[in-house]
Amino acid sequence: MAAAQPDGASPAPSPDPRAALPAPAIPADWLLRLRAAWDTELTPSVRRLLFALAALVFTGAALLARLGTQNARAAAAALFALLFASILVRAVVARRRRRDARRTILGTVGRADPQLGAATLRALTLAERTARTDDAGSPELAALHLRRLLDRAPLDRIRARAASLATGWSIAALAIATTALALVTSDPFRIVEGIDVLAARNGTAPLPLFWLDDVSMSATPPAYLHEPEELLNPFAPTALPRGTRIAVRGTPVHDGRKLLLTDGVTEAAFVGDGDGGLVVHFPLTDSARLRVVAAFGDIRVPQADLQIVTSIPDAPPVVRVDGAPRTVRILDEPTVQLTYEAEDDHGLREVVLSMRAGTREERRILSRPGTDTRTDKGSYQLGANDPFFRKTYAPVEVRVEARDNDEVSGPKWGKSEAVIVVLPQAGEPEALRYAELLKARDRLTDLLARRLDSKFDPKKPRDLIAPETTAQQEARKLTMEALGKTFAGLPPNSRMTALARGQWSLLDKALESFTKAPSQATYDKLLHETEDVLLAFDGGVRALGVRDTRTVAKRLAVVADEAALAAGALALGMDTESATIRLGASYDVLDAGGKQLLKLGDLGLDLGEIVASDLRRIDRARKASDYKHTELAAQDLAYRLRKPDPSFSGGGGGGVESGGPPSMNPSEASDADAEQARNEQDLEDLARDHATEMNEVSEALDRAEREERESLKDAAREHAKSIREAVQGLPKQGRPDTAESEAAAGRQEAEGMAGSLDSQNLQEAVERGREALKSLKESKRKGGDGGFFEETTGERAGKAAEALESELKWAEEALEKLRQSARERAKEELSRSSKDEEKLAQRARDLSEKARRGDRTLDDATLDRLNDAERAMRDAQRALQEGDGDAGKKHQEIAQRALEMAQGRKDDDGNSERPRGDQEGDHRPPGGKADIPGKDKHKGPEAFRKRVMDGLSGPVDPALKEAVKRYAEGLLK
């Protein structure tokens, strides 16, 4: 210890006495010698073993990481960490052990000579103890004992022992190294992949690897573009239509890898192309940077090559409407012409007209362009009477919209700029029409004032002729112009027009009398006629005002209901925003409509005031957020408008509480309007009854013929068979204007005739037979082709014509016989119809005479048509009386047409004249009796159906006949 502490100072206290023990208890050189003897032999082997082990762990970890799953990568990382930790720990431990004398002795001497080792350790212990305490003996002796024992340490044996151990370690290292090497050499690239995968961040490995060689690329545009496949320059930037399928082909550099093509979001897997290569088809959506990657679990190891593809989107269609955007007031422009052009970069599928007003929307298909159509042009006319405009008072946004054929990202709509259609306010067209009629009435009033002023001078009897004629013509022109005007689709009122025509014809006659024989009497007559005409016109206008008021009021009642519903919703706190908007919109419509009502004469003024008053009630409650009372007030307005009667009626002029003396009613000044209404009703009844009678005649004839036809059934079939055989050898088609084409036409008609005979339709059989014969004869005339030994087509057609001729003759005779028999059979019924027809003719005459006698509310043209109808009815009556059903039917048809024309239902071209406004109005005379035909009596619709069926199932290709019939049936349903 003295040596250890030369200055004699006491050792510093230490918690671990051994730690404070001076190492030199054993001489350092001894320890070094011992360690060197051991390590010299053993360390190289240990290092080899460690290296091999590290290699094995590294390889294993790489292979484990290559699985690519999160767990596998974590495990691999753990292995690596363990490896490094182990190496580090071992180094530390080894270092410590080298310093530890006991361990050194035990690991060297103890292994070579365990007894000596134990003795040495004991000696060491003794030396240490003597060094620490005084009572353990002499430290020097103990040290000496230790040194002697150490001197006895068998270094050779130690070396041998170490060498032996080293051999074992070396063998183990070799085995491990071999294993590692085997793992590596089986596919060294896997180690690289594994390490790459292990180092991956965000699913992508940092080191690009080469996966695919001999890459080729092609692009197939989407099918709807109808473009060919295109070869691409691999990995050169390109631009392709959206939806293109990009095909990438190549040879895999490493087998067994799962290769993908990805844009970072979407992946498509390569598959074998059957030729040792790989192929992938990648659908292009948005612009992409495509890479080939290998998939290892969740990790993608990219190839360095990059394919940049710019996606060219399919643009939505571009739609243009001439003049859009614009605003159209339907009152100024009753017909809105929408001329449009729709274009798409690839193709259009559908073009529609879209109309929106508030929450209502309607779409109408304008066209469905064919495949590859990129442009579609067209025009559409929106009329003021369009169904969408009915009951709509808000501005309507009209657009043309086109849909493209994009099958990749879904069809896209392109819209035109809007055409805003501003509809008239409720009742505005009626108010404008009324105002126009009032102006016309004013003209008549002026004419009367003039005539009241003018004095007939017997000395200059002709002086008044020219000015009165001019004034009357001018007034007539202006009134008829006013009557002919249309307001936002509201046509002239037919009753008013008819009334005016009738009145003017009266006035014209009075003027004519005055012109022919000017005298005070004829002038007075002209004056009185002018008064009557003015009163009749005034009565008509006022009555129209009443009818229009009722119509408009009922329309406004619906709007008031809507206001009530909206207010009700608000009262319940439901759907607040929408209900507020609906209430506001309804209020505005009612306000505008009420103002129009004020312009529609007395009843309109009455109801218009009520609308204004009730709107004030609604507004008061609304402003106070008292929606319950808003609802009630709106309901009250709707209730009132549904009964558009004058506010006061009955009891003369109104006494105290009720009743009262007689009062003056301006509507009693002229009966013209009521008479006009009665005449119209009578005419309508007559037309309806006549249509029923006509139908009964038709049915009687049909019934009789049907029974007769049944008896011809077998014979007709036989003849049909003969006809088919006769034309069997004729061609079915041929070039135009040749014998073949004529023969084909003849064959077709002949087969049609046969078909008609099969169904016992002799009339049709005869008609088609005649057509067939004509064609066959024409074919015979033209001659046509033929072989040397064969007949020409013309010759064959000629033979067929001969056969057909006799068949036709049979059919004609059979038809005539059938008709005669049918006439006989139907005679009794026709005779009955004849009497009915006579009664109808008398009704027509009575109506005509009544119209002439009264306020002359039917104009000359109507009376003429009524007379035509009467004549035709009398002709029909005579024909039916004689049992000639066909002739009777034809006359009836003429009469019916004349009646319908007299009604104004059809003009000479069969076009309807009846305006929409009239359909809403009340045509019936007040308190008039209306006969409602029984379901079996009124056959108008049924007759119409039959006519359509007859027309559409007329001469057609027999093969198509049933199809046509089915089509017609469908139409009529």
Binding site: D446, D626, G650, S658, M664, P666
Partner: protein, 511 residues
Amino acid sequence: MKTHRVFRPLSLAALTSLTVAATAPPARAADVIPSLSEIAAALGRSSTLELDLAGAHSILDAADGQSPAIAVERARLALYEGDCDRAVELLTRGDLSTSDETKHIGEIARGCARATAATVTIHDKEKGVWVRLQDDDDAALVPFIIDVADRARETLARDLGVRLPSPLRIELVRDQLTLSAVTGLPYEAAQTTGTVAIAKWGRVTMLSPRANGYGWMDTLAHELSHLALTAGTRDKAPLWLQEGIAKREETRWREPWPHDDTPPGDSFAAVGIAMGLGRPLDKLGPSIAMLPSAEEASVAYAEVSSFVRFFASEIGDDALPRLTAKVKEVEGPDPAAIALKEVSGLDLAAWDARWRQHLAGVSKDIPPELKPGATFPKMKEVMKAVRLGQLLQDRGHPRQAAVEHSIAQLAVPWESAVRCHLASSLLAAGDTANAKPLVAHPEEVHGHSGRYWTLHAFLHPAPEGDPRASFLGIALDPLSPEVACEEKPAPDLPTDPLRQALCQAARRIPR
């Protein structure tokens, strides 16, 4: 108020005794004795009918609100107070019986709630008159209405011994449809007879003269008489008494006016009966407004007014208050007949005979155009000329219009409306001299034309003409612009502020 003071002790006493009876233990009594709620309902109803609305409240508010009978009577009371929303609310209970009466009240309440929602109400607390206006543009009429109501109330208190309660509720509705909805009168009946007012549900509901000019002031007085009689007799007065008294009272609130008895009521009744249009006094049906025609209605009015006038003249002015009070007191199937006999010593049949005897002596010489069911002579010709004149005048041809109107005037010289048309045309043509005589002598024409009076006032101002003429015009046709504005051209206004307001209301929407 009088009825209120009289009834309350009685009703409370009755209530107490009936309550004791109702709560009496015998089991069989429960089958016949009404429940407490039914008793309260009956008493409440009685008070309501007497227009003792405060009394009705005191009974019904204290009663069991869960009882259906109480709910119905509370609804009735709400209707009498004009609170239709409350009535609807009370009647929406599911447990209420579906009796005809409940359904009827429910229908009226709903119609009333709808028609009166968000309307304007004016309450003159000083005069005790409450007016509800369906059309707020009629507000200009309210001062006149209050004045008539106030004066009529005093007159009725004097003539019948019945003071109408305060507030007196009056409703002015815009049309017959609403009149029907808020009163229950069938709409068709209103249209047939030209009904303009109904006194029911404790208030007068009358048509705004905006719809059609009529003698609205007298009508109001007439209807208030109904209310008074209903309250004074506990709604036991038969129709002949109701209408007879109302006809008598309709002109007694004011001084006599020209044409008050044109045609004379007795003569009209006599002629009507002779024409077969009359009906026995006790066979007039539920309401004159529901008679099949306006002619029969007018004859019925003449009959009952003539009868009551005859009765009052025979017995004396105090007869009617006595009769009214007696009808209220008497119970039975026909209290009026009993009361009539008790008050006068004669029954209805005897009085009817005496009255018919009286009618036999009156002159039946009334102009044909005023006879029951009369129509305009040469109606078509007159109408044509009038209409042509209107058209010509509206078009700015007054001279020619005068020609046409003069044709009409020659045909019906007594018709005030035709005279007005002619005078108006002449005035427009600058021919004032010829216009003046047309409206100079009211006795030359029959009444019922407001325009006649304003033209009279315009062309014959007082003292030459009748100083009341302008007011008479307003009493007949207050919202005709010419009448309301006293023939002044726009924008000139009458000097009187009330008439200024009336003129402005009339001009708001030109008719």
